[in-house]
Symmetry: C2
Subunit: 342 residues, 2 copies
C-alpha cells in the first residue's frame, strides 16, 4: 500500500457548518433539525434552509456512537448463490429497509473460519443484531451464547435450543401437498425426492406419508431418495413406470425433479395431469412456468421467513428475546400439472 493521495473531497457539510450559516449554535441546530421543541419556529426554518443549502446529512456514525445503537444489523449467509438464501435475504432486507436500519451483507461461503471472521468484523462495526441465513434446513452450529448482540437463525436452525430459529415447516409442506393430491381424487401416489442427507427431503416425505396414513393410504412403492436433479427425476420415473404403471400422481421433492418426471411421463405417452398428476416443492418460477404443463408446487414462503426473522430480531434488540425453533407454514401454488381426476 502506497500512501494514497486521496481525493480533495470538499469536506461534507457538518452540523457546525449548518449552525454557522444559520447563525445559531450547534445545539440549537441539532434541536431544530430533530424536531425538538425548544426552538422558535422562525429559527427552526432558518436552520432547515441552511441544512438544505449545504445538503447536510447527519453523520450516523457520530449519532450511533452517542446512542449506543447503530441502526445496522449483520446478515450472515453461508451461500449467496444458493437460491434459498436470496428470497430470505430479500424478505429481511425488506423488513429492515422499511425502518431506518441498514444491512451489512456477509457471505461465509460455507466456511466456518470465514464466518467467524465476519462475525468479529460485524461486532467491531457495532451491529445491533445478527441474522444467520442457512441454505438447508438441517441444524447448524450455534454462534454461541455469549455474543453481545441478539442473533436470529433463518432457514437453517441453530443446534442450540436457547437460540431462536425461524424455518419453514417442511413436514406440514409434505402434508398439504398430499392433501392437495387427495383433493384431486388421486390415491396411487408415488414419491420421488432428493438427497436423503437433507432434512428437508426426510421431513417432506414424513409429512406426506403421515397425511396419506390419515386417509388410510400409503405411497405406491417406497419413496425414492437420491439427488435434487432433473436427471434423477427422469431416471426415477422410468423405473417407477416399469413397476407401477398404475400410478396416478407423483409427488416430487423439488421442482427440478418434477421437471424431469413430467418430461419422461410426456415422452412415454402419459398425459399430465389427466393420467398422472405431478407436483414439486420450492415453487421455482423458472422451472414451474416453463414446464409443460406448468407445475403445481409448494411455495416455502421464504420471504416471509426472512421478514419474520427480521421482526424477531427487532424484538430481541428491544429486549424481548424468544428461543427455540419456530416454523412458518408453506402454501400450495396450483398450476396445470395437477387437476381433479376426470
Amino acid at each position: 500500500m502506497t500512501p494514497a493521495p486521496g481525493p480533495a473531497r470538499s469536506h461534507t457539510a457538518t452540523l457546525t457548518d449548518v449552525a454557522r450559516l444559520a447563525g445559531v449554535s450547534v445545539a440549537t441546530a441539532s434541536k431544530a433539525l430533530n424536531g425538538r421543541s425548544q426552538v422558535r419556529a422562525e429559527t427552526r426554518q432558518r436552520v432547515i434552509e441552511a441544512a438544505e443549502r449545504l445538503s447536510f446529512r447527519p453523520n450516523q456514525l457520530a449519532r450511533g456512537l452517542l446512542a449506543g445503537r447503530t441502526g445496522t444489523v449483520g446478515l450472515l449467509t453461508s451461500d449467496l448463490e444458493g437460491r434459498f438464501s436470496i428470497p430470505i435475504l430479500m424478505g429481511a432486507e425488506d423488513a429492515f429497509g422499511a425502518g431506518e436500519v441498514a444491512v451489512f451483507l456477509c457471505d461465509a461461503r460455507g466456511d466456518a473460519i470465514r464466518e467467524q471472521h465476519h462475525v468479529r468484523a460485524l461486532l467491531g462495526r457495532r451491529v445491533d443484531g445478527l441474522i444467520v441465513v442457512g441454505s438447508r434446513t438441517d441444524p447448524r452450529p450455534s454462534l454461541g451464547r455469549d455474543l453481545p448482540v441478539p442473533v436470529v437463525y433463518a432457514y437453517a436452525p441453530s443446534d442450540d435450543p436457547a437460540d431462536l430459529s425461524i424455518v419453514p415447516d417442511n413436514v406440514d409442506a409434505g402434508r398439504i401437498a398430499v392433501e392437495h393430491l387427495l383433493a384431486c381424487g388421486r390415491t396411487r401416489i408415488a414419491h420421488i425426492t432428493g438427497d436423503p442427507g437433507y432434512l428437508a427431503a426426510r421431513d417432506r416425505a414424513d409429512g406426506a406419508r403421515a397425511a396419506l396414513a390419515g386417509a388410510g393410504l400409503d405411497f405406491v412403492g417406497e419413496p425414492r431418495f437420491a439427488e435434487w436433479s432433473e436427471g434423477w427425476g427422469r431416471a426415477a420415473t422410468a423405473m417407477l413406470l416399469e413397476r407401477h404403471a398404475d400410478v396416478d400422481a407423483v409427488l416430487c421433492g423439488s421442482d427440478q425433479i418434477a421437471r424431469g418426471v413430467v418430461e419422461i411421463l410426456r415422452e412415454r405417452g402419459h398425459r399430465v395431469p389427466e393420467d398422472v398428476a405431478v407436483m414439486g416443492f420450492d415453487n421455482w418460477q423458472v422451472l414451474t412456468s416453463a414446464s409443460r404443463p406448468p407445475l403445481t408446487s409448494v411455495d416455502m414462503n421464504l420471504e416471509q421467513v426472512g421478514r419474520a426473522a427480521a421482526q424477531a430480531l427487532f424484538g430481541a434488540i428491544d429486549g424481548i428475546p424468544r428461543s427455540g425453533v419456530e416454523t412458518l407454514p408453506c402454501r400450495v401454488v396450483i398450476r396445470g400439472s395437477t387437476a381433479h381426476l376426470s
Copy 2:
C-alpha cells in the same frame, strides 16, 4: 413505539477498560494494539493480554469518525431476485471481504424513489463509495455527479459518460459464440433470441452477425426476437423447422430459450448436436446441465464484473478515478449440445 425496555447488555469492553486493566493510559493502549512504535515490548504484551481477556473489539464507528473513512461501501441493486445481480454482488462482496471493507446491501426494487432514499441513507452512514448493480445492460440514469463519494456502475452502465461503468461485452459474446459454431463446422446458423427491447439481445445479435459476415455468411432466416422464455424457444423452433429444415446450428439468446429449442428439436427427431448444434447465453447451470444434451453456453463472467467494479471503486476511493464504459470479455463453456459436424 413504546419506550423499549432494552436489554441490560453488559457494557461491551472499551479501550478505557483495556487500558485500566493493563495499567496504562488509553493512548498507550491504542498504540500498543495498533502496532505503533512508541511502546515497550513488555507493555505492549500486557495490553494485548488485557484486550484478549476482555475480548476487546475496537469500535469502528469511533475509528471511522476520526479517520474520515469508514471502511464501508454501499451496494445498490435494483432487483435482488434477478439472477444477474447475484453473481455480481458475490464478486464484489468477495473482493471487499478480502480486505477490511464491509458492504451495505440495499435493494431498490427497481424504484427510483426508493433508490434515492437508499442513497441518502448510505451517505448518512458515510460509506466510502457506492456500487450500483443493474439487472440489464441497458444504460440507466446516473446518480449524478455531485455525490460526495465515488460511484461505480456494474452490469447496467450509467447514461453519463463521466461515470465509470463495468459491463460484460455482449457484442464480443455474440462473436465468440458464432466463432465456436463456425469452428464446429456449422454454416447454416439460425438465431432465436429474447426481447428486442433489451440491449443485450441486440448486442449479441450484432456481434454474432458481424462474426458471420467475417466468414462470408449470414444467419439462416432473420434473427427472431421475442421473449426470454422456454416457451418462445419452443415456438420459434417449430417455425424455424418449417421454413429452414436444413439449419445445422441454432444460436439462442439465453439458456432458457435454448432449453426450449433443444426440447423441440429432440421431439421432432433432430439429433443434437449431430444434426443441429445448439448454444445459449448466460451459462445458467440449472438449465445447462439438466438439458439433454447439456448445453454449451456463453458465460458472462459476472463475478468478474463484480470484482472489477469493487477494484475500480477502491481505486476511485484512493483518488484514481476512471470514467466511461469498460467491458469485460465473456467465455464459451462447451458442453454436449455443440460438437464438430461429423
